[in-house]
Symmetry: C2
Subunit: 248 residues, 2 copies
């Protein structure tokens, strides 16, 4: 297990609290999760499936223990985990964790108020999340193939390239066009204030635009002005900026 | 567009209302969606991604217009839809539909009370849904490959067989073991009353056990006694039984 970072959540929590009244009128971290030890999020030291949950808790001003697991430690740890998966979330120091990042995201939304309570408003947020999940699902086969040790490297490289080039030409632009349209007349995916859907889509924008996915051009999202402005808007939020700019 | 079926939702709605007080103490279809024309669910004439939503509305006693789209009509219709996807859900006769079956499921859960309001209880339900989503995600590459027209039939058949046999031997049993354990001491996945997670997992059990997925043995779920009892318990609910036993 790598170093555990208490400070981050607490720091960002304080920052968020300071701006909360203005920036997050719907925020109500009122469900008793107010100390870093109340929520522990355990994941690899990457954005991956946990970043949307981190962004939500940070935006909502809910401190949490942001534990990072090294890939080296994961081999031994995997068999001991709930479903053989990370991330895991621990509540109130309980021994048994929760799994599934989509569930964590919605839980974080409930305790921060970043998921609307009104069923029709929540429907819109879940719809945006579903669309982002679909985009990520399209990416998955080539990601899994890139980790596959049973295929010859040269054949694997050729197949991954072919799949990624198709994704970059077809599926990714198709999905991004939908998101671009959703951001046409509003600052966030579901209206004038951020929700958990924005926390998730920010994670996807950063991933697609990171340049680390071979054959996916790093400028793939910057062709979309609304998405580009959305990303800048999200990354300028004080508690997200503090997290992203924190020295590693 | 194939024949539109008003009667089904109304019939099952009436049946559910009759048993509601006993069977669904947490049910509260109190959000104004009480007439078949309030909610229209549009999908192919198969279980697929919509069945979990149908099961939830049926169990919750919320009538809905259960519109079925023929595969022949879909070709022309696809480009006119929100994200090029079915199912679609229309609320209150509004022209603009909602997409994403996971979002519809949670919305149906909110208006029927089959999604708990307590954030920690809802966390457990979303966790079970996420696990089922993961199982379905594992199935997807071989399903998509089976529809692929660009691969030679013989090569495709060989690849699909290889992928499905691996799934039947490894991934599916691994996921089903988790569900089996979740049902060890409770009648439903998240306690003593049904939730939207059960509506989704029932759909998956029926699909995996249908015998229509080549190379996935139809008895793949019946090896698990808790899952088998769960499926029978769900299918015995009057409004689900009425729906499943309705003459086609």
């Amino acid at each position: 297990m790598s170093a555990v970072n208490f400070a981050l959540g607490a720091l960002a929590g304080a920052a968020a609290t300071a701006v909360a009244a203005d920036a997050y009128p719907s925020m109500m971290p009122s469900l008793g999760f107010s100390r870093p030890k109340d929520i522990e999020l355990k994941y690899f030291d990457i954005a991956g499936a946990a970043e949307k949950v981190r962004f939500t808790l940070l935006m909502g001003g809910v401190p949490f223990k942001d534990t990072r697991v090294s890939f080296g430690d994961w081999g031994k740890m995997k068999e001991t985990t709930k479903f053989g998966q990370l991330p895991l979330m621990y509540l109130n120091g309980e021994e048994k964790p929760y799994a599934q990042s989509g569930a964590m995201l919605r839980f974080a939304g409930a305790i921060t108020g970043l998921m609307p309570k009104d069923p029709v408003q929540a429907f819109k947020v879940d719809e945006a999340i579903g669309l982002d999940d679909d985009l990520r699902r399209e990416m998955r086969p080539s990601i899994m193939l890139s980790y596959d040790q049973t295929i010859k490297p040269k054949e694997k490289a050729r197949k991954v390239k072919e799949m990624r080039e198709k994704l970059a030409a077809n599926e990714i632009p198709r999905f991004l066009s939908h998101f671009e349209k959703m951001l046409e007349n509003s600052e966030y995916l579901c209206g004038s204030s951020a929700t958990i859907a924005d926390a998730q889509f920010l994670t996807t924008c950063r991933w697609l635009g990171s340049g680390v996915i071979d054959h996916i051009p790093a400028d793939i999202t910057t062709k979309y002005p609304n998405i580009t402005a959305f990303r800048a808007r999200m990354e300028a939020k004080p508690e997200i900026a503090a997290y992203l700019n924190k020295p590693k």
